[in-house]
């Protein structure tokens, strides 16, 4: 079967909206109902965060959602149990995102096999080194039709961007500015210069822009240079209070372009 991420980017070249949220937040069993609500609201792709006690690249909002999710009992095993019904309820691509240590303890091979069997399409492990992926896991992930997605930042050198573009599966995750998740975001003009530079590199892989993206205006600003955006912190803030379904619909409504 064709990977859902690849299919999405073939079908849609602009305005892709991917939403990140922490599995097991605000309640342990919210993972799938939220996935369903997001798909119904018109989201193109989901990134399910696997909570970690020490999320180095995340700001306070995702840190807190991770803490609460862990307290709720969320872990990779519980997430996989929840995902057993994933493909009966959700058709859009799903990416699992989490730090390396929990995956390492679960066992990378067992993790990848189980994720693939459950209908997961891609994985993001921000602290997994490129070399280690290439040497130990690339073959495994490719065999399982799982896309391993890598990040680039405004500080990533041109040579390294090209290497990452070649290794990254499905798309390239471009961090919009030097910051952790949920910061006030980049100066729009600086972001534009960076995205223009990326666009001019002709990377042959779609680029999604994340970190500090939270409004409709952000989406429109990215439109000329990239295939779409990833929204995380702003959505987690939105579902932290009130009815999660209602909050999801109105949040996504406000993001429509």
């Amino acid at each position: 079967m064709e990977n859902r991420i690849d299919k999405l980017f073939k079908r849609k070249e602009r305005d892709i909206l991917s939403v990140y949220y922490t599995a097991g937040f605000p309640k342990r069993d919210d993972t799938l109902p939220l996935a369903r609500a997001l798909e119904t609201s018109g989201v193109d792709m989901l990134e399910l965060g696997m909570p970690f006690s020490d999320p180095l690249a995340d700001g306070p909002v995702i840190q807190q959602s991770s803490e609460i999710a862990i307290r709720n009992g969320m872990c990779i095993e519980v997430l996989f149990q929840q995902l057993s019904a994933l493909r009966q309820l959700v058709t859009i691509p799903v990416v699992l995102m989490g730090y390396y240590n929990p995956v390492l303890q679960y066992g990378v091979k067992a993790f990848a096999e189980r994720a693939s069997a459950l209908g997961v399409d891609g994985v993001i492990i921000p602290d997994l080194p490129l070399d280690e992926y290439e040497a130990n896991y690339r073959h495994l992930f490719e065999t399982l039709n799982l896309r391993m997605i890598f990040l680039i930042t405004p500080q990533t050198s041109e040579d390294r961007i090209r290497k990452i573009a070649q290794l990254s599966g499905g798309f390239i995750y471009a961090v919009s500015s030097a910051s952790v998740t949920g910061s006030s975001g980049s100066v729009v003009s600086e972001r534009e210069v960076y995205l223009k530079r990326l666009a001019s590199m002709d990377l042959k892989k779609p680029v999604l822009v994340g970190f500090g993206i939270r409004t409709r205006e952000d989406r429109l600003g990215v439109r000329p240079y990239a295939a779409g955006v990833i929204v995380g912190t702003a959505y987690i803030k939105a579902i932290s209070e009130g009815d999660t379904n209602e909050q999801t619909y109105s949040f996504i409504q406000n993001l429509q372009v």
């Binding site: 020490d54 306070p60 862990i70 390492l104 921000p126 080194p129 990040l151 500080q155 990533t156 952790v180």
Partner: protein, 397 residues
């Protein structure tokens, strides 16, 4: 000579080490990785570094033959007096080295993490010395219990930022410093306080601390007529003082390396920081090493009476030394450390830091011969721990 115990070209000590960092940190760490050896080994750097260690830190620190302690343990016990350094601990050896490194990399702003505040004070000190702005991240809980060191840092001109995430202690202060570095990739250097973090930090910090064992060798030769002791004993939290004390002896098999780790209330008590005893391999703060974690790979909370050993990981060098059996790791409880601390006070007139007291407690646990020569690294002085010592005094004293 090829060594099994030094870092390989990929930044690994055997199975441990490496740089497990998000791309957001890659450029920062890469600049350091590409330049640190060249800079450290340049004549210019060495000249300035050595001069500051001598005139500002007060090195060489004495190697003191502890006569009464020797009589008591029926062996020849030497204390390497890192407690006599400026700012009262070995930490300054590293911060002097790293501030010089930062200057040579063109960095204009310094950040650091601190637990007990010793590394924070040592960083604030060198920043004052060099006129660089300094931000120290410190867990809110530690700020509360280490108030005098907070005041010291502020007096030295540093900004102390309270960390309210997670357990509000050293691990979280380190996370927050790393997040700051992610947000300031151009102008900032992160002075890590121990032999932890992504490559090249463990190797760089060990190099700066290696002056300890370099001095031990020459001092021992002068005082005891031999270059190699039978034992070198040091405490290990992250492990920087132990790395420095072991460094020039790692490849000399007849020197037994003893690492004292903090057992807290006992290794099975659930209140411990004995990483080697109860930890498992994993990733913490950018390095593959042994760490305390639950079955899901979440990092667990350490506990020790000594704030400087209260860390859920251990430097990758020490994980390697422990795993290969090159170093013997001995868990020491709070009570054993306190007893060893009181003993040194009364027997030698030296109040040791609680961290160093863990190393001293090993004297009781080793089977020593009368002609054995033991060097205990007295990594810091106990002024900061007075309250703990006094509150825990046994009845009748």
């Amino acid at each position: 000579m090829t060594s099994t115990y030094h870092i390989n070209e990929n930044g690994f000590y055997g199975a441990f080490g490496g740089a497990y960092i998000p791309e957001l940190l890659y450029a920062n760490v890469e600049i350091l990785r590409l330049n640190y050896k060249r800079i450290i080994h340049s004549d210019e750097f060495q000249q300035v570094f050595r001069q500051l260690l001598k005139d500002y830190v007060g090195r060489p620190s004495p190697l003191y033959y502890a006569e009464r302690l020797s009589k008591h343990y029926n062996a020849r016990v030497f204390l390497k007096r890192e407690d006599l350094n400026h700012t009262g601990a070995h930490k300054i050896n590293n911060t002097i080295g790293q501030i010089l490194m930062a200057q040579r990399l063109g960095k204009t702003r310094i950040i650091a993490e601190t637990g007990a505040g010793q590394h924070g004070v040592a960083t604030a000190t060198v920043c004052a010395l060099m006129g660089l702005p300094c931000v120290v991240y410190m867990g809110a809980v530690d700020i509360e219990r280490q108030a005098p060191n907070v005041e010291r840092m502020r007096l030295l001109g540093a900004e102390v930022r309270a960390v309210h995430s997670g357990s509000k202690t050293l691990k979280d202060a380190t996370n927050e410093a790393i997040r700051d570095w992610i947000s300031h990739p151009e102008d900032t250097h992160y002075i890590i306080g121990s032999v932890v973090g992504p490559h090249p930090y463990p190797d760089m910090v060990a190099l700066f601390q290696s002056v300890i064992s370099e001095e031990i060798k020459s001092q021992l030769e002068e005082q005891a007529g031999k270059v190699h002791p039978d034992y070198v004993v040091a405490c290990v939290g992250g492990g920087s003082n132990a790395a420095g004390a072991f460094y020039h002896f790692m490849d000399v098999p007849q020197v037994k390396l003893i690492a004292a780790e903090a057992a807290g209330k006992g290794i099975d008590s659930g209140h411990t920081a004995a990483t080697v005893a109860i930890g498992a391999p994993g990733i913490i703060h950018g390095s593959k090493t042994l760490l305390m974690q639950d079955k899901d790979g979440q990092i667990t909370e350490p506990y020790s009476i000594s704030a400087g050993l209260d860390y859920p990981g251990i430097g990758p060098l020490h994980a390697h030394l422990a795993q290969t059996g090159r170093a013997m790791v001995i868990p020491v409880t709070d009570t054993e450390a306190l007893e060893a601390g009181y003993e040194l006070c009364c027997m030698e007139g030296i109040i040791p830091a609680l961290e160093s007291a863990h190393a001293l407690a090993c004297l009781k646990k080793l089977e020593l011969n009368p002609d054995d020569t033991i060097v205990v690294n007295l990594s810091g002085r106990g002024d900061k721990d007075l309250e703990t010592y006094i509150n825990n005094l046994p009845h009748g004293k």
